[in-house]
């Protein structure tokens, strides 16, 4: 439960308010994780934050986190310089069902910074291409400036048996891509519902709507997974801070099948 000091290797700016940090474990240790897991990152004097891992699971020499700077704690985190340390606990939680999804078509549906916890899935599927069917990446951002991992999106779009559909809620006249909320991409989706596993991450309303739309198109609620976000403290199922209905998001999640949490998603305060 005590954070260990990881060394900042690199901080890079993704969008005007979102940054990616690469951290090296102390003593050259290996940093294994499952896509969808998170760590608790400690910034001295400010506090501890649960942050999803956004890097490549096949590269355990470091862990990568993509953070949106929205308050003092995240601002302090993204202001770290190479060579400084960040306290790290974890990785924690149950991640995306990459084993169970072997042999199936994969839909990755991300909204805004929700692409960060799903990037490890994309890396994994592309690195093990023969183990999976068709890969579809649906990505919605607020506007063209806020598109994450722009260069990688372009590379992913060119991979075999991969479809990238991206959109922004609003675009300027110079924007050449699609405009409309993320669900408007569905009309261009080629879907084999019975053999599809969907993994969704983004604002809760977006996840709810995307999950329901996929289910309406025949995908089973057991095969639709969402990554939930709640305030966390211990991150190991002891303090109850992240309790959501009968679940502890830190330990039972953050990734849940839709069928297990559908009734909770409709309630406003839990």
């Amino acid at each position: 439960m005590v954070p260990s000091p990881w060394v900042v290797r690199q901080v890079s700016k993704e969008t005007p308010d979102t940054f990616t940090l690469v951290l090296d474990p102390p003593g050259g240790a290996r940093a294994k994780f499952t896509p969808g897991q998170f760590s608790m990152l400690w910034v001295g004097g400010v506090g501890e934050l649960p942050i999803s891992i956004s890097g490549d699971p096949a590269r355990p020499e470091s862990l990568t986190y993509t953070v949106r700077s929205v308050g003092p704690a995240t601002q302090s985190l993204v202001s770290r310089q190479a060579g400084q340390t960040v306290g790290v606990r974890g990785p924690y939680g149950i991640g995306w069902p990459i084993e169970a999804a072997t042999g199936r078509d994969i839909i990755v549906a991300a909204g805004g910074i929700g692409l960060a916890p799903l990037r490890p899935v994309i890396y994994h599927v592309l690195a093990n291409r023969a183990d999976y069917g068709r890969l579809t990446i649906l990505y919605g951002a607020r506007n063209p400036r806020d598109i994450l991992f722009r260069k990688e999106l372009a590379v992913w779009a060119k991979q075999p048996d991969t479809q990238l559909l991206s959109t922004v809620d609003y675009g300027g006249v110079a924007w050449r891509g699609h405009v409309g909320v993320v669900t408007t991409l569905f009309k261009r989706l080629r879907l084999q519902p019975a053999k599809t596993t969907a993994m969704i991450c983004g604002p809760e309303i977006m996840m709810r709507i995307v999950a329901r739309d996929l289910i309406a198109r025949g995908v089973s609620g057991e095969d639709v997974y969402l990554s939930m976000e709640r305030n966390m403290k211990c991150a190991v199922g002891l303090c109850g801070h992240c309790q959501w209905g009968p679940h502890f998001v830190c330990k039972d999640g953050p990734v849940f099948p839709f069928s297990r949490i559908a009734s909770l998603l409709d309630r406003h305060e839990l």
Binding site: D17, R68, V70, G111, G112, I113, G140, A141, R142, D146, D169, Y170, G171, G172, V173, W175, R176, G177, H178, V179, G180, V181, T183, T184, K187, R188, G202, P203, I205, M206, I209
Partner: protein, 154 residues
Amino acid sequence: MEIHSLEQIIAEHPFFLDLDPAYASLLVGCASNVRFEPGRYIFREGEEANHFYLIRQGRVAVEISPPHRRPIVVDTLIEGEILGWSWLVPPYQWRFQARAMEGAHAIALDGKCLRAKCEANKELGYELLKRFSQVVGGRLDATRMQLLDLYAAH
């Protein structure tokens, strides 16, 4: 010959999926083939709304021009979708502007002609209204989601 091919195109467009062939024959009298060069405005806000378009190819941006600001694209439409429903409801004026982002092919359906046919044939009118209600409903849902500004920092 051209009439026949237009009828076929109308019948095969997703907006008219499973349409009674008799209605497709009626609609074809109001239809024409159109093509828009990239960057060309198809209509502008405030103009009389005399048509709607079945997009066959290309991409069209639906834009709004806030006062003293550059236009904002609020939606893009592609092949298989329809552009415009202001022809259907008074005052028959475009609320937005539409621009071809790339070269676009479409079937234009003349609103005045269609309104006259719908008045004369209420079943056709009801059929069209049902299809347009779905489109308008879907766009209203999408607009509500846009208003939520889901990805803003809270």
